[in-house]
Amino acid sequence: MNINKFGCIVAATLIAFSSCKKDENLTVETENYKGIFVVNEGGFAKSNGSIGLYKPGTKTYFDAFKKANGLPLGDIVQSMSLIGSNYYIVVNNSNKIEVVSQSEFKSVATILTPSPRYVLSVSSSKAYISNFYNNSIKVLNLTTKSITKSIEIYHNSDQMALMNKKVFITTFDNKLMVLNSANDSLVDSISTASGLSKIVNVGTSKLAVLCAGVVDWNNGSVIENGKIQIINDSNKVENSFALSSGSYGGSMVYSSSTGYIYFSLGNNMIYKMSLSGVVSEFKTLDAGRNVYGLTYNAANSSLYVTDAGDFNSAGKVIVYDLSGNKTLEFDGGIAPNAVLINE
């Protein structure tokens, strides 16, 4: 072999290795952004959370935020709320809330705030933001998209529900904190059963909270069964209904059309409970499936179940009518926890 041949071989090898595919620029395309939005948390610390959009007509699914804005969203997309003509997308571990327009899904503003969980509109100009690592509720001016105030509530906070100008906030300490949304003052706290996890409005003057009970972290055995408690407008626990098992968390929604609370304790069982506390099985998912989130859509009286799978693959969204018939199933993103319908 002479030196020229040798050089050719070497050069060819080096060039072969250099001919890899490079990063592709994301393209921003036009879209009407109507369909079923899926809130995908993504893997913790991987920044692969997303808002997906499924279009039932074409049976297509895509990353809506990335498509509209040409950017990935961030780490742990916790929730998305429609307030006015904007969506407020809470990206928990990116410490931000992306505000996007309802029509084009384009970013309107980015609100930086520590460990946000949920945004709840309390008036036409004001919303509350709960915080995972902060003992305060942030007050958001919906016009300027800026945080104007912090309300000390002495606990980290999670879900919120508005009832008669009072905001009821779940904490991780089995307490509901009650704020007066008119003057942003802390007015009460309510002790709940163990494992306070979710809160929903039940009609106009009652709330239901899901308390998942206590589970032994060592072996997964249930130490204390969960409860669903009904909170009345006087800030009192009006009823407390014991459940037959317990869990680390769970999901719960309410359908005013049937008058049932639908809930899951995180496994593959979905139950329904009347407001008198009678529990029956609503649906058992296929083996291998688990309920990670429940969303109720009153417009089509359907229950949207999200299954996070192994948290490292596309999760599933499964839709049931209130008779328990599966009407739709599609793949979401990583760890879907809720849907939001815009049709």
């Binding site: 030196i3 040798f6 050089g7 071989i9 070497v10 050069a11 090898t13 080096l14 060039i15 290795f17 250099s18 001919s19 890899c20 595919k21 490079k22 990063d23 592709e24 610390a45 991987k46 920044s47 692969n48 990353d63 804005n69 040409g70 950017l71 990935p72 969203l73 961030g74 780490d75 990206v91 571990n93 990116s94 410490n95 520590p114 460990s115 690592y133 589970v215 972290w217 997964g220 869990s247 680390y248 968390g249 304790l265 995180g266 496994n267 296929d286 083996a287 291998g288 499936r289 688990n290 309920v291 299954d307 996070a308 799978g309 192994d310 948290f311 490292n312 693959s313 596309a314 990583i334």
Partner: protein, 628 residues
């Protein structure tokens, strides 16, 4: 860009100056394809250039076709060998397995090359020779007592605050040999990157990414009556580093971690007679990993192990060689997941017989190890190796073996997910290699097949909010490796050297032990099908010019191989210029390196940007002296 590469490549060829062999340089040249010294008969051994600076991860990254998983310079680094996990590669330091009993891996960035004299990779299962954990292969690290008096060291600086300093002193006093090394490595690692989470992708600087390491090593050896050789080696490393977040993740947590590692070995080599020897080893390892995060309580984790081993080797006759050993390894660990501490004892017996046939020239070896843990028998690890010298140039090798990995302490005992019912992972493999050697050319082609059952994963259990260690699946990994090495003598004093290595691997789930079978047939995530390296060096006079490139194929970041999670392939080029400076017994060398020559924007992990083009300048010296 390709034109530039052509020009750079062709630049090597006009030089035709007088030069001498690089072996005399303190930049030790190395053979990529090792032709002897395998731990395991019939398997493939790849040497690494131990004279390079940085960590073991740095050297593996630049010189091997292994996929090194790390998310930033200095960060936790592990390897994927033959498409398998980090926990499936044993790391042997002077024969002692350093895989942590807590999680079965070792951070390759913790081991500085300045403390090592020899490093190699043996692909393929090595469980019989290495014991627990060597399902994919082993990385073999050794210190060698050269027993000459010298002062030696290195000092280097580079982009984003890199600074390396190492100093060694070895003294030969009659039959006693002492060798001391100290080192300091540090880096700001505040490199620039494109922030893809912001509009227009502005260039920003990495934050919370500092690294610093201090180390001390002491070797001592003494020969007595030519029959007894005592060897002692002690390492202490203290590593402090910040842990950068992925892009898009809040920086408020300010994570950082301190590692403290101690390695100690006492070895007695007794030559019983001209045919038999007895080697006794006593080793101690300890690791403390302290993790800090502003949001959560500090986490203090510690593990220790004591290893006692005795190995007897004998030449039975001209045709047979026999060796046997007994090993007892005591492991203990304390973490937040099992605070009172957990311990276990691993005892094993090993035997190997090798048959040398003169005609046809054949070497056949059979080995097995039986390990006992907690009154249970580990899976057996029979290992059959055959090497056939088909002609003067061609050798055919084959190896078939069983292997296993015991569940780690975290898998078994972690409160909230640990599973005492876990079974050991069981592996089996078959490989066949052809090695061709002719004058200055060497080439090797290996086909391999691995099967691993009871693969341990942490999966959601009993609902989506809790996780549990589970024997989750069965995988198959198959592919081929190609390696070549060629030295072209231009003149008596100048030569070109080329080496390259390429691996293609399909590593897929063949079964998933759960109701959801959708992951069957999927390539393991973060497992590229293709990896490779190519390097060309031109040595002339006291100078050396080197250009190398590494290829990492596309890989999925998600288990379901979703197209959205496909990370693009990348290739990196590194260029270096070095010159030796000699004066009597003083040898030194200065080297300038450009890493990521083409300024490639690449990611090993999703949303973890890596450094763009960067520079290093290193000076090494070696002064031999006679002690009187």
């Amino acid at each position: 860009m390709k034109a530039l590469l052509l020009i750079l490549t062709s630049l090597f060829f006009p030089f035709l100056h007088a030069a001498k062999e690089g072996d005399t340089s303190i930049w030790r040249s190395f053979e990529l394809i090792a032709t002897k010294g395998n731990v395991n008969s019939g398997s493939v051994k790849i040497n690494l250039p131990s004279s390079q600076d940085g960590s073991l991860a740095d050297v593996l990254n630049k010189n091997s076709a292994l996929f090194i998983k790390y998310y930033s310079p200095g960060s936790l680094a592990s390897t994927s060998m033959r498409g398998m996990g980090a926990q499936h590669t044993a790391i042997l330091w002077n024969g002692i397995n350093l895989q942590s009993c807590m999680n079965s891996i070792l951070d390759l960035n913790l081991l500085p090359m300045f403390f090592l004299d020899k490093a190699s990779i043996e692909t393929g299962a090595n469980a019989a020779a290495c014991g627990n954990g060597a399902i994919a292969g082993a990385i073999i690290l050794n210190n060698e007592s050269k027993e000459n008096s010298k002062v030696y060291g290195e000092i280097g600086t580079g982009s984003f605050g890199q600074f390396n300093f190492g100093l060694g002193l070895s003294v030969k006093l009659n039959k006693l040999f002492l060798n001391t090394r100290i080192l300091n490595r540090q880096a700001q690692n505040d490199f620039e990157y494109y922030n893809i989470f912001k509009a227009d992708k502005p260039i920003e600087r990495m934050q919370n990414n500092q690294f610093s390491q201090n180390g001390f090593m002491q070797e001592a050896s003494i020969s007595l009556k030519s029959k007894h050789f005592f060897y002692f080696n002690y390492w202490y490393l203290e590593t402090k580093r910040q842990l950068p977040s992925a892009l898009g993740v809040s920086l408020l947590a300010k994570e950082h971690q301190d590692d403290y590692n101690t390695l100690m070995l006492l070895k007695h080599d007794y030559k019983i007679n001209s045919k038999s020897s007895l080697i006794n080893k006593l080793a101690y390892t300890s690791e403390n990993i302290n993790y800090f995060n502003l949001y959560y309580p500090d986490a203090y984790n510690a593990a220790k192990s004591v290893i006692v081993e005795s190995e007897f080797k004998t030449q039975l006759n001209r045709s047979f060689e026999f060796s046997t050993s007994i090993n007892n390894t005591y492991q203990k660990a304390w973490t937040d997941g099992y605070r009172p501490g957990i311990d276990r004892n691993l005892s094993s017996v090993f035997a190997k017989i090798t048959w040398f046939v003169k005609s046809p020239k054949l070497k056949i070896s059979f080995a097995d190890r039986q390990l006992v843990y907690e009154s249970k028998l580990a899976p057996v690890t029979p290992d059959l190796g055959i090497e056939f010298q088909a002609s003067k140039s061609l050798k055919i090798k084959s190896n078939a073996a069983y292997s296993f990995r015991l569940p780690s302490f975290n898998d078994l005992y972690w409160q909230g997910g640990g599973n005492l019912n876990l079974l050991p992972e069981k592996g089996k493999k078959l490989e066949v290699s052809l090695e061709y050697k002719l004058k200055n050319f060497k080439g090797g082609l290996t086909g391999f097949f691995h099967h691993v059952d009871n693969w341990i994963l942490w999966v959601p259990s009993g609902g989506a909010s809790s996780w549990k260690a589970t024997n989750a699946k069965e995988i198959e990994s198959k592919g081929f490796e190609f390696a070549t090495e060629y030295k072209y003598l231009i003149s008596p004093n100048s030569f070109l050297k080329f080496y390259g290595r390429y691996q293609f691997v399909l590593s897929v789930n063949t079964d998933v032990y759960g109701a959801d079978k959708s992951l069957v047939g999927k390539q393991l995530f973060y497992t590229p099908k293709q990896t490779g390296i190519a390097n060309i060096q031109y040595l002339f006079g006291k100078n050396r010019v080197s250009l190398s490139t590494t290829l990492t194929g596309s890989r999925y970041s998600t288990a379901d191989n979703h197209a959205d999670g496909l990370l693009p392939a990348y290739s990196l080029f590194n260029f270096s210029l070095a010159r030796d400076i000699y004066y009597k017994t003083f040898k030194s060398s200065i080297e300038f390196t450009i890493s990521n020559l083409l300024n490639t924007n690449y990611y090993v992990f999703e949303n973890r940007p890596m450094p763009l083009r960067n520079y290093q300048l290193t000076y090494k010296f070696n002064i031999n002296y006679e002690h009187k």
